[in-house]
Amino acid sequence: MRRVRLLAGLAALLAAGLIVSLGVGAVPIPLGQVIAALWGRLTAAPPATAQDAIIVWDLRLPRALLAAALGAGLASAGAAYQAVFRNPLADPFVIGASGGAALGATLAIVTGLPLVMPAAFAGAVLAVIAVYLLAQSGGRPSAINLLLAGAALSTLLSSAVTLLMFLSDRNLHEVFAWLMGGLAGRSWPHLRTTAPLMLAGVAGLWALARPLDALTGGEESAQSLGLNLARARFAIVAAATLATAAAVAAGGIIGFVGLIVPHAGRRLVGGSHAGLIPISALAGGLLVLLADDLARTVVAPVELPVGMLMALIGAPFFLWLLKRG
């Protein structure tokens, strides 16, 4: 089946991308050395204390895996929200996750607590819960209400972040760096705590492929097909938020992946989510991986924030999509 071949192809591409990522950066390491470093560590052969081995194993490998997981989570969440809200401009942050995470992270940074990652995660989850409750109190809980509540709360949260930044002169660099999104200094601890959550979110969304398909025809149509709307919406938002909150906790605000990759995915395999979710996940992972590679090499030894790079890549791509119609 074409879809299966495409999935396999992308998976292979992602694996290749991972290997390549291990060799690029401020310090170019040839492929042979990369393999040697990995092999050395895996087989506990002569203790790999060479610098290259350290860079490859402690720095680049967890970071590359994290980038891939992050991209997968965000792209899948974006695809799911575009279906639920029947809006091609929906992205994983549309119901407040990014605003909440930014506020959590900024609070942690500004008050000096070493809890930025958990604070960001908690912030994202709490914001989505707030949006969910707000949408219900506004009347019939529906996709439209979620979008509206999300827009309102996001604005509120981002002004709160700006206010905090204004009031607290110091630590601005750290807040900026976090907001611009990046994987600098991320290693195995970050990967261990967040990657399973991201992948769980992706798996959950993949399982929800059929309800997502049904929702693309509209809520009433989906209901008439036998879908319990409240439960479906809850499950989808929960899975997507799990992936998104974990992604934002690990890497800050990295936009465009969740918005653009599903569009590309739909062009490749159509709108059926059984294929769209995994394709988006693989393509998203690949995209963030490549962006992170660029971030580390383009002006080495200086590192660019990945979120900013994504925007630079994403905007022209978006315009091209617009042109194609």
């Binding site: 610098q51 707030a130 509120l156 905090l164 660099h173 990046g182 580390r296």
Partner: protein, 340 residues
């Protein structure tokens, strides 16, 4: 929506956050770093021990006209009795040349000399937006010292109100000497200014001569860490960058063009510094345990030899008379046996 208690909770939450931000740990505010967002590429070669290229301050006497760092001609009619300083480095310069009694206003970060703030008004923080133009004007100053381009909005507002503004924005040691002499001339303390400059030059020469005698292959590689998240270092054009070179060290990031760039951990590991230096404002993050916990850092030569040097962040970054202290501290940190 007014029925929703959730909204009330949100409002309370935001109020709490504002309180939290305002009461954020009140440690002594670190000397503000010039924002890297406005990284101005500066030519990397510092001129240091050469004579100041600006004309020597004219003989004491008013009226006088001097050109400031932004190229503006500033006329002073009489000895200024009410001076406002908009930067901690400028405050230090003013007090060093003996113009302390003439200073009536300074910033909240002006903590040296320690008694500087007593009896004087605080006019704001360091950035332009935190300075109160009204407050400055209310002090009826004869002369205001600003720190160059970053204070442009404030200087322009002050000049529009008829206040005289003089800018200090030195890029190297020669510029600092020139500023000190200019401060002496402007405030009517030229002799004291000359003494300060002479004293600085003597101490700096002592260090540079000793450093010059260190053979190339024995020069230590230094990584200066401004902050850890994001990982920021100082480029060669910054004062600390210049001081590392002057003290006989080698900045592992001497090839970057920016002043305070964010660099990748990989690059630090690959460049294998022998010493890590950092300001005391970042002191908590610069412990051996914390650095070793970073992925891939624990095998760094600097860590293994325990060579982490903390320097006073104020003297390192303020372009004032204590630069000599700073250079001596850096030299001691890099070569503890040579410089006692």
């Amino acid at each position: 929506m007014s029925r929703s208690p959730l909204f009330v909770v949100l409002l309370i939450g935001i109020a709490l956050m504002m309180v939290a931000a305002a009461c954020a740990p009140a440690a002594a505010p670190a000397a503000p770093i010039s924002a890297p967002a406005t990284a101005t590429p500066v030519p990397p070669k510092p001129t240091v021990t050469t004579e100041p290229t600006k004309p020597a301050a004219p003989a004491a006497g008013y009226p006088l006209t001097l050109k400031d760092e932004l190229g503006r001609e500033v006329k002073i009619a009489t000895r200024p009795g009410r001076i406002v300083s908009l930067a901690p480095s400028i405050t230090e310069v003013l007090f060093a040349v003996g113009a302390g009694p003439q200073v009536v206003g300074l910033t909240k970060y002006c903590n040296y000399p320690p008694a500087a703030a007593q009896g004087r008004e605080i006019v704001g923080g360091f950035s332009a937006k935190s300075l109160s133009v009204e407050k400055i004007i209310s002090l009826k100053p004869d002369l205001v010292f600003a720190a160059g381009a970053t204070h442009k909005p404030v200087s322009e507002a002050l000049e529009a109100a008829g206040v005289t503004v003089f800018n200090f924005d030195p890029k190297d040691f020669a510029g600092v000497y020139a500023n000190i002499l200019a401060a002496g001339a402007l405030t009517g303390n030229p002799a004291q200014a000359e003494k300060v400059v002479a004293g600085m030059k003597a101490r700096i020469e002592k260090v540079t001569t000793a450093a010059a005698s260190i053979p190339q292959d024995q020069r230590v590689k230094v990584f200066y860490e401004v902050w850890d998240e994001p990982l920021m270092t100082a480029g060669p054009a910054t004062f600390i960058g210049q001081m590392i070179e002057l003290a006989g060290g080698v900045n592992v990031f001497a090839d970057v063009k920016e002043q305070y760039p964010t660099v990748s951990g990989e690059a630090v590991i690959a460049r294998a510094p022998a010493v890590i230096v950092g300001p005391n404002s970042h002191g908590e993050g610069l412990t051996a345990e914390k650095i070793a916990a970073r992925p891939g850092w624990k095998d760094l030569a600097a860590l293994k030899a325990g060579r982490i040097v903390i320097v006073d962040g104020d003297i390192i970054s303020r372009s004032g008379p204590r630069l000599a202290d700073a250079l001596e501290a850096v030299a001691r940190g890099l070569y503890p046996e040579r410089f006692k």
